[in-house]
């Protein structure tokens, strides 16, 4: 038998060359994206990015100040961690307890509420757990748990997930409790809503992301507005001692920009065009528009 030259050696070399070139290209691509001197690193939550609000506001900010904000969108848990580790200049998040802890620890110097909207509990229109008739959001969660209905949890330590936990505690449930058909997605709001739609599950969502996904998922809002569904977004400035002075100044500029009456008006009007209603209610505009 003739000994044949194995193909795999050639294949492996080709593969390696290919992988290496991809790696080199990827490294180059990454280095191009690195933050340069004209920038501000804004870490925010996926719900803010997915709503399109920043895309509407940041060009105005850049026009006014010449500062280009680089947006990194992660869950609030990760956003707070990036603030703690000094990997961000300024945060825009919606996890009040974690934010206050960050300020208390000295990692952030200020927590300024900017705007609010609200969470909704959505579910299939058949409403097997009769959430529609719940007396409060906590009662709604209790009904879902008691009837072992499907519930799609974010499960990712985001601001929304923290609210789920708070509601479960308020309902007298163990937040670690897992009733049958409790789903924990560990994914972003959009994907969790899609999972809930596909599995006909109940889900807690911020109103903005819910409206954006409403048509795809065939779920309905079943909750009424309640104080425990209030969702406040705040700007946190990272401690200037941990930052380059220029960046500290820019983060102050950003905070001032978000409080500016003109920006607050933009926030008040954002979403009317696409959803027929505003997605956020600014907290520093007098007189306050109704949501």
């Amino acid at each position: 038998m003739i000994r044949l030259r194995p193909f795999s050696a050639i294949a492996a070399i080709r593969l390696r060359v290919l992988c290496l070139s991809i790696a080199v290209w990827a490294l180059l691509a990454c280095s191009e994206k690195a933050v340069d001197d004209g920038d501000l690193l804004l870490v925010t939550t996926t719900s803010v990015r997915d709503s399109g609000l920043l895309a509407a506001l940041l060009p105005v900010f850049e026009e006014q100040t010449g500062v280009r904000a680089q947006v990194i969108a992660v869950g609030s848990g990760a956003a707070l961690r990036m603030g703690r580790d000094g990997n961000a200049d300024v945060l825009l998040s919606h996890a009040p307890d974690g934010e206050e802890a960050l300020v208390a620890s000295g990692a952030a110097v200020s927590r300024t509420p900017i705007m609010e909207n609200f969470f909704v509990i959505a579910g299939p229109p058949e409403d097997p757990a009769r959430v529609r008739y719940a007396s409060s959001p906590a009662d709604a969660i209790r009904r879902i748990a008691d009837s072992s209905a499907r519930f799609a949890s974010r499960g990712d330590d985001s601001g929304t997930h923290r609210r789920e936990v708070a509601l479960m505690k308020e309902a007298g449930l163990d937040p670690e409790a897992r009733w049958p058909s409790f789903l924990s997605s560990g994914a972003g709001m959009g994907q969790t809503l899609q999972i809930a739609g596909e599995k006909r599950a109940y889900v807690l969502s911020d109103i903005g992301t819910f409206l954006a996904f409403q048509e795809r998922i065939e779920l309905e809002v079943l909750s009424k507005s309640a104080p425990s569904l209030r969702n406040v977004y705040s700007v946190l400035r990272v401690n200037p001692d941990r930052l380059d002075p220029v960046r500290a100044e820019r983060s102050e500029q950003f905070e001032a920009f978000m409080l500016d009456p003109e920006t607050q008006r933009r926030i008040a009007n954002f979403g009317r065009e696409r959803f027929g209603r505003p997605l956020f209610r600014p907290l520093h505009l007098e007189p306050r528009p109704e949501p």
């Binding site: 869950g75 848990g77 789903l183 997605s185 739609g197």
Partner: protein, 218 residues
């Protein structure tokens, strides 16, 4: 958020294997015969077919995930299966990713045989039913390269399994989606721990396959 227990890590690792290994087995069972058949025969339309397979070898997993998603979603053509966000959907996506890799590398390995290999085997009077076995032995380096490549491809893949699996705890959460999730949650230490498990798993599996590949080499 409490860190995951050892039991949870084992569970995620076990589920990763429970998804990847069946996907690999199906891809091999389907891909090897097809690869050998295309590799040995000359027929009209072979070149376009091979270039299609080669394109499939480079198909972006996240695109595969998206297509499988559209096929399986509630109102999609296979929505009645209720496979979306289940391990079956993940296996399906991984088969779509691995199959072109297996076929492509197998047919290339078969193509690297001498033109008169068939003739030699026939001249030696090897019975027909043994010829395929002989062929597989002859190209085993290439075949194992195909297996290692496909396994590496699906074990490390995250875009497709995220899109069609949904990273559901206890159901569709595998190592790659868990690493992504913990990274996004800011739980970088846990993510790193899972990454070590994933790399270790690949190291062990690739090591075993390489040992098989290199054994009997003279």
């Amino acid at each position: 958020m409490s860190p995951p227990s050892i039991g949870l890590l084992i569970e995620i690792t076990a589920r990763t294997l429970a998804v990847c290994l069946p996907a690999l087995a199906i891809s091999l069972a389907v891909g090897l015969p097809i690869g050998i058949a295309i590799g040995r025969r000359r027929f009209a339309g072979r070149v376009p077919l091979v270039s299609l397979i080669n394109t499939g070898m480079g198909a972006p997993p996240v695109v595969v995930g998206l297509l499988v998603y559209f096929a399986l979603e509630r109102n999609g053509p296979f929505g009645d299966l209720s496979w979306l966000y289940s391990p079956q959907a993940m296996i399906l996506a991984q088969v779509v990713i691995a199959l072109p890799l297996i076929i492509g590398i197998t047919l290339a390995a078969v193509g690297s045989l001498d033109e008169d290999w068939d003739l030699q085997v026939r001249t030696l009077g090897v019975p027909k039913r043994w010829r395929l076995w002989l062929l597989a032995r002859e190209i085993r380096m290439g075949l194992l390269a195909a297996v290692i490549t496909a396994l590496g491809g699906i074990l490390s893949e995250v875009g497709a399994v995220m899109a069609v699996g949904g990273n559901l705890e206890g159901e569709t959460r595998v190592l790659t989606t868990a690493i992504l999730m913990y990274t996004q949650m800011g739980e970088l230490e846990i993510a790193l721990g899972l990454a070590v498990i994933l790399v270790g798993l690949m190291l062990v599996l690739a090591g075993l396959l390489t040992a098989v590949q290199q054994s009997g080499r003279t």
